[in-house]
């Protein structure tokens, strides 16, 4: 599967380099000063200016802004006159992470050409003029033998693009606007991208789409480092997609995470098993009562979509909680004094965690990877450490599109057949489809709709490290050596 939404490689390299440097600065004992020096260390005097930038001073200013996001602050709300060292100090004193996990770096935002329809030089000024005839708004006229669009009349419908026999009319897109499934990011009066947080569902697609890397996640890495330094019992809750991220066995990954300073590691697949059992029972009950369909409820991006944009879907969405919810509940029950950190493939879980008192912090896989780089941990050389609890194959496969529905199906009785519909990635189109199902109260394609905000499932998340295909291969190997949830259910009922 081609992941055309993955973050451009150069921008993720930059973001990860900043994270590594911030972590090293924190661990150096002179956090504030070494943080202040990051833009200068990355672009020292007389060093080459990257060819995409006008001068070294702007490049440093942008690196400074990227570091602000790495420190966990909003770039928009931070005054340019504040020193990075003061922000580092402020980050260390912070008690609660910011409410919204995304921030836009306007200095890096190119302020792309506004999205519009454009007639290129390829226009042949043909006799048929399908563009003129198709336009419902009378926006196209012929001037000097070529088609010209009147921007005041054009509604951006794109009909002319489709009918031109020479493919001479193009739609110019703004990548972040085009990637956002809910129209939550748009250019402001200055031409810079701005996120409308009342609409934003935290799916992170804008961050992946921007070729300038101008949309950043606010990191909670300093908050977590601080808890570990303070000697707290910090416990990692590792979502299934993590096992596809680094080149090592799952048991080695556990050991590597312990080396970062965590007191214990729980698989979120353990919570996924609770989700599967609860959701299968719920699906059966709903269908017996005559429900037309049910959607899954494990994806944080989808849940925010329903809450903010498709309230009419609420009765059809499963009431079952997410794997993160159940895992955190188990961890806090077994370790009431623990500080919990969820290891996430996406931005959206940061929003979900803010509403859950059992989840204290969220780190994404880029941040975990950067932390291992900073400490020089070689995952492939780590010893193997077993998990205390053995999660099921189905639970470990939750991160793959289709995995959640398949898990639920495994536990359904024969007389309750599930007809699975996969919404593999939220787009403007799939959001329209979901709205339609909710409005009609039925879905003619099936009765169990699994919704994943990211294409491919969590493995396609915006904050992943590994490419999709090798990650899938690694996760599948782990799944294949795990026991089925059926065996687990049979054992407990004995």
């Amino acid at each position: 599967m081609a992941m055309n939404t993955s973050t451009p490689k150069e921008t993720s390299h930059l973001k990860r380099e900043i994270l590594v440097r911030l972590i090293k600065a924190y661990l150096s004992g002179n956090f504030e000063e070494n943080t202040r020096l990051i833009p200068y260390a990355m672009r020292p005097k007389n060093s080459d200016v990257p060819n995409y930038r006008c001068c070294i001073f702007k490049e440093r200013a942008i690196l400074r802004d990227r570091a602000i996001a790495g420190l966990g602050f909003s770039i928009e709300d931070t005054d340019d006159s504040v020193l990075l060292s003061d922000l580092a100090q402020k980050a260390e004193k912070r008690e609660v992470p910011d409410e919204h996990p995304l921030t836009v770096l306007t200095t890096a935002c190119k302020g792309c050409v506004p999205s519009r329809i454009y007639v290129t030089d390829l226009c042949q000024g043909c006799v048929a003029r399908p563009c003129v005839n198709t336009c419902k708004f009378g926006a196209i006229s012929i001037q000097n033998g070529k088609s010209v669009i009147d921007p005041a009349k054009c509604k951006n419908c794109g009909m002319c693009v489709q009918v031109c026999p020479y493919q001479a009319i193009q739609k110019i897109i703004v990548p972040c606007e085009s990637a956002c499934p809910v129209g939550a990011i748009a250019k402001d009066e200055n031409g810079h991208a701005k996120i409308d947080f009342d609409k934003c569902i935290s799916c992170g697609k804008c961050a992946s789409a921007c070729p300038f890397g101008a949309v950043h996640e606010k990191s909670q890495i300093i908050d977590v480092l601080k808890q570990i330094k303070a000697g707290k019992k910090v416990i990692a809750m590792v979502a299934p997609a993590m096992f596809g991220q680094l080149p090592c066995k799952p048991q080695q990954l556990k050991e590597a995470i312990m080396e970062l300073g965590f007191a214990d590691v729980y698989e979120v697949a353990q919570g996924a098993d609770v989700t599967t059992k609860t959701e299968a029972a719920e699906f059966e009950e709903r269908l017996v009562k005559g429900a037309e369909f049910m959607t899954t409820s494990c994806c944080a991006g989808y849940n925010e979509l329903v809450d903010k944009h498709i309230p009419e879907m609420k009765p059809f969405r499963s009431d079952t909680k997410t794997p993160m919810y159940y895992t955190a509940e188990i961890v806090k029950r077994e370790n009431p004094d623990a500080v919990t950190v969820f290891f996430s493939p996406c931005v959206a879980k940061k929003r979900e965690a803010l509403q859950n008192p059992n989840v204290d912090y969220v780190l994404n896989y880029e941040e975990i990877g950067a932390w291992m780089v900073a400490l020089g941990i070689q995952v492939a050389e780590c010893s193997e450490s077993e998990f205390k609890h053995e999660a099921s194959a189905e639970g470990r496969n939750y991160c793959v599109s289709g995995g959640v529905a398949k898990a639920v199906e495994t536990l359904l009785p024969e007389e309750i057949p599930a007809h699975v519909v996969l919404v593999d990635g939220l787009t403007k189109q799939s959001v329209r489809d979901l709205k339609k199902y909710a409005k009609n109260g039925m879905c003619d394609l099936g009765n169990l709709i699994e919704v994943m905000a990211c294409t491919g499932g969590c493995l396609g998340g915006n904050s992943t490290v590994n490419a999709f295909k090798p990650a899938l291969k690694q996760v599948t190997t782990y799944v294949n050596e795990s026991k089925s949830i059926k065996e687990q259910v049979e054992e407990t009922s004995k």
């Binding site: 490689k9 993720s12 390299h13 990860r16 380099e17 590594v20 260390a41 990355m42 680094l246 080149p247 880029e366 990877g369 950067a370 291992m372 780089v373 020089g376 941990i377 070689q378 995952v379 492939a380 050389e381 490290v465 590994n466 490419a467 295909k469 090798p470």
Partner: protein, 85 residues
């Protein structure tokens, strides 16, 4: 014909996080493109990242004795083509 060109893609943690995760496609692509003229493999840490701050130049790929910094699929293919000239 001289010896085979050897391509080593570093899959140590640092290189992997800094981008060699995206170079894994070389391991399938290179034999298809060059047949048995080129030998390609993912290898454990080459030790190039641990020197001072050199992590920022990861991922590293070695084409014979030549070290490619901040490697991309394109850079590696270009280096192979040079060797085969």
């Amino acid at each position: 014909m001289s010896e085979k060109v050897s391509v080593k893609v570093c899959l140590g943690t640092t290189c992997f996080v800094m981008g060699s995760s995206n170079l894994q496609e070389l391991i399938e692509m290179v034999p298809k493109k060059y047949g048995d003229k080129v030998e390609v493999a993912g290898v454990p840490c080459l030790g190039l990242c641990s020197i001072d701050w050199e992590f920022s130049k990861a991922p590293y790929v070695k084409v014979d004795d030549e070290v490619i910094k901040e490697a991309t699929v394109e850079k590696v293919l270009k280096a192979i083509d040079e060797k085969l000239k």
